[in-house]
Symmetry: C2
Subunit: 711 residues, 2 copies
Amino acid sequence: MPSMSPDPDPRTLEALFRPRAVAVVGASREAGSIGHAIVKNLIDSGFTGPVFPINPKARSVRGVPCHASVEDVPGDLDLCVLVVPAPAVVPVLEQCGRKGVKAAVVISAGFREAGGEGVAREAALREVALRHGVRVVGPNCMGVLVTDPAVRLNASFAAVAPLEGNVAFASQSGALGEAILARSRDLDLGLSAFVSLGNKADVSGNDLLAFWGEDPRTRVILLYLESLGDPRTFARVARRVTRAGKPILVVKSGRTAAGARASASHTGSLAGVDEATTTLLERCGVQRVTRVEGLFNLARAFSHQPVPRGPRVAIVSNAGGPGIMAADAGTAYGLEMATFSPQTVAAMRAVLPPEASTNNPVDTIATATAATFGACVTAALVDPGVDAVLPIYVGPSVMDVRAVAAEIVQGLERARAVGAGGKPLLACFMGGRVAEAREVLLRARVPAYDFPEDAAQALAAMARFRAWLDRPEGAAPPLAEERARLRALGADLPAGWLDADQAFALLEAAGLRVAPRAFAATPDEAADAAARLGAWPVVLKADHPDLLHKTEAGAVRLGLSDPEAVREAARDLARRLAQHGLDPARGRLLVQAQVQGGRELILGARTDPAVGPVLLVGLGGVHAEVLRDVALGVPPLTDRDAEDMLDGLRGAPLLAGYRGQPGVDRAALVDALLRLSALAEEVPRLAELDVNPLLALAHGAVVVDARARLE
Amino acid sequence: MPSMSPDPDPRTLEALFRPRAVAVVGASREAGSIGHAIVKNLIDSGFTGPVFPINPKARSVRGVPCHASVEDVPGDLDLCVLVVPAPAVVPVLEQCGRKGVKAAVVISAGFREAGGEGVAREAALREVALRHGVRVVGPNCMGVLVTDPAVRLNASFAAVAPLEGNVAFASQSGALGEAILARSRDLDLGLSAFVSLGNKADVSGNDLLAFWGEDPRTRVILLYLESLGDPRTFARVARRVTRAGKPILVVKSGRTAAGARASASHTGSLAGVDEATTTLLERCGVQRVTRVEGLFNLARAFSHQPVPRGPRVAIVSNAGGPGIMAADAGTAYGLEMATFSPQTVAAMRAVLPPEASTNNPVDTIATATAATFGACVTAALVDPGVDAVLPIYVGPSVMDVRAVAAEIVQGLERARAVGAGGKPLLACFMGGRVAEAREVLLRARVPAYDFPEDAAQALAAMARFRAWLDRPEGAAPPLAEERARLRALGADLPAGWLDADQAFALLEAAGLRVAPRAFAATPDEAADAAARLGAWPVVLKADHPDLLHKTEAGAVRLGLSDPEAVREAARDLARRLAQHGLDPARGRLLVQAQVQGGRELILGARTDPAVGPVLLVGLGGVHAEVLRDVALGVPPLTDRDAEDMLDGLRGAPLLAGYRGQPGVDRAALVDALLRLSALAEEVPRLAELDVNPLLALAHGAVVVDARARLE
């Protein structure tokens, strides 16, 4: 295996999240300045330890006595916040190191983001931090907040402080951070911590993932990222955290099409601009959200309610339309509409008028009282075929929505009393006095959404998380010998496009089956080689370094059934190469046994600039090239990952056979993908690889053509 | 053509939207009651005419003198609001009719939505309304609001009143209505009018579309609908309104998969649950939004800013990440990133530090001053290659965002001064003092979004609307003879599944080319028929009323090249039918000339319960059946619509030829679709029709097999 960066050590962030004493270097008496705002926020948030403003020119800031420098502070100091001008940051950080400070938050801008000398300044900052073992957040960030009552740290200049809660939030955009804090308050979403990552000179999203993954006060992790840091570390840590039951929700800005790298290979062009990142996140159970607003939607559900046991939702509404909107949105997002048991239908029928509908989505009609509505919610909650309930109540301002909310909360208690607890309930209240209902619900930790689609989207995300938790990891064969061979070969092969024999050898080293082949320089040699292969008919191909698309150039001749046909075809190929302006002397002739039957697939691997190695599979010909029906994966694959890739193809049913065409050996395809994964892992120099086609047969799968480029 | 319902007459709604006097029947002295709230709202909104509370038991409500009945009101009365108990509504409406009232808003519930006798009550209400020519909004609605200063009507019990503006909003859900009014105020989105449609016993969304389409105070129309009313009228009116330049934005709740009708035909099963509605909306230029929040996003842009001339956006941001997020979202929604002219790059370079990026999205980096940021926005605005500008400013609370906003507004003015006006600008401000920036921008009618994705989504919707306005309508041949033949044949044919000859005859009546055919009862007759066709080889098929999928049953025999082969195949077919338990005596033998070559397509038509006739096209075999690659259309088609359907197929490139396979006659496919459209229009009894396959040749297209069912 290639060398892996070690996992982040969460213990190194203890001083950041649970400091016992904090200093603010650059504390200012000037109201409105950042150096003033931070001292004020630290005091106002009720930080549980001492705060030391550092300012050689002031006696006190907001009544708190100043010191001239960090080193003058009496006793231990865990955390320093730096608000000094950029050129002063590195010297102050040196002082911090000497003082034994364990963590620093560098608010100051003027580093990498400013270009020029800022870049060197950031490198120096990083060097000092590593040398002294000071974990540094920033520079160019908004600060850090911790709501734990034992800490109560607001080491930021944010104008809004978050509520206490169980959602940890890291943002790579400081400005977005303030918008996030404001929105979280509007939505009553409590945070355990908030970190503005800034330039990520030292502390990265991966560090925070590792810390919050083990933090008992954090139940949900939200990340707004512009880059993934080390993608392999991210994948490893994120997978561990999510598999342990803690959801990670991410907004990740990608790359525009304008920035997409032009690529000569199918794998490069088919894999899409940002799909590799999406695949990586999916494969480690991280939910990617495209909008910041969506992040809040999902976080409210995960923060307050349990993850459902499955995707079957019951929708109970007192108005048809919003119920149907929720059902539409829910099924579009992947929920299933639960089918009620006869008992549930009877329980609802007993309280509802005949015009009401007890089909899911339930429509209690507008005349339903709070008690009736609550009874229907309860009936849905206790149905064993229901995994989650979504009550939608629309009431004009004259209705007592508080009573309805109380009945919903009672329903949860009644369900718990009969052993049907643990099911999530997300409410949606529309119309008049929504705030009153929200207050009642929030006390019971039930989030109240403004619109049905939002509740449905959040519930669907929870169901997807359940599917991730229930999904078997799968297994992969060790392929120890193959990996050793691949490492050796990968180190030996030249850079640039490999010739056909080298590409085939690489695939054979991974244990893939390649069609029997021989190489020749002249028509006569080709005829002899074909005879030696001993398997007629044969295929003749030109193997030429300047020829990437053999079929288009007419450089493939099929069905040659005797030596004379081979000789003739070889002479013809030479003429065709010459017509394309290619010097036949620079190329060779490739003779292969012709594989009969089977279905063409494309396999591929490439190194994505943001994600690292990415694998691709598609059905051959029209499917991949015209319909762009391909699926991606990220190594290391398990057999389950490989199965998911195959199932991810729209054309997957064709692999099982279609209208008389026989099915193919699916196990052989899974095996081929696992071997491709090993190849990508063990040959980090691999830039791009196309296996096109791989012929999938009724038994086994055979590589017929391949191209590869190494760095 | 089948009979069409007439267009709604907007003049009949004058009294509703511009009443000179209003009565409230059921006005109440009891604070907190709906009958009180409506009088209060009418008075508080400053209605410009007299308000007459009607209550036989009270002398006044909120100081306004009461009358005992509508008929006691002196002088003319245009509008009545009814808040009486349901059983009293119809009698009061009779009084309104006698009084000459022209419009009524029935708030009262207890009609169709309550089931039982409410259904009959609603029918009676409708009858009275039609008889007296009173246009009725509701019943079971929240009321009507008009902000026109010459009217100022708040005939609703909503707790929140909207701001004055140019957005007209109709909601089929009353409760959602209150949420909508509250949200519109939060977002500073002014409304021209708001109508809570309730049960739509009389006034429908189509009526409002027709009225607002001609209302000079309304620039954007928003609809929240649960049903489309008459879909043909909707399509006709909506298309006229949008083509005239007024955008219509719709949230339409659809139907869940559980409600999808099981169907034996490909067209039925392939067309999807809600795609017919989406297609109808698309084909009349209406933008369907899946979330209510999205409706507001789009409305803010259309309300305040001009529609761009094209899809090329310039993004100017002082932070990389949000700029990229906007670019990601914008391109995903269909925007194009503009390429700047050398002048634009030079103008930006002149004010930006070297580390800044003048590639689109422009990153001014965080050090940019308000003036620098404004200069870059101006440079982008005046670039002829830019259709719209999206400035994104992220600033901590200490920055003077008001100055930045002012510079952006100045940029618009500078651009106008040099003849580069008329381009939309949607701003996004994140971070500290957003409200201050929003205030400055709003005065200049620039919406300020909280998150970049929202601004990008809104701009993309505007660009789509421009594409719709620029799109040629296309034309269609009159097909007068064919239509006459279709009407006659459509009336004559029996109900249920047609036999093969009838289905072919229907297609031939539409002018589609069908492969030469003959029918026979015995093997000998089949051989003779084949000989008479005179075009060998022939195809033999079983035409049996109980056999829907011929190929699967082995009931198709290809490539029969002489009479003896036909005889043999006919005997074999009879055996196979018997094996499937089908009585050969109930069927016939169909002999067809075998069409050589070509590409298989599927054409289809069906009557969708929500939308009416829908057309379908797909590539045959795997493409339609496994990959579900089909495109829909709604008659009447133009040639441009037909071209769009073909281009909507993922496999569309295959029609132009692929890897040596020749292209097909696209004009013949367009012609076939236009004829299919005429068939669907002229045969309203058509329930479903599959043409499978249509063979598309290098010249022309030939129907090889077809099934059809009539009501």
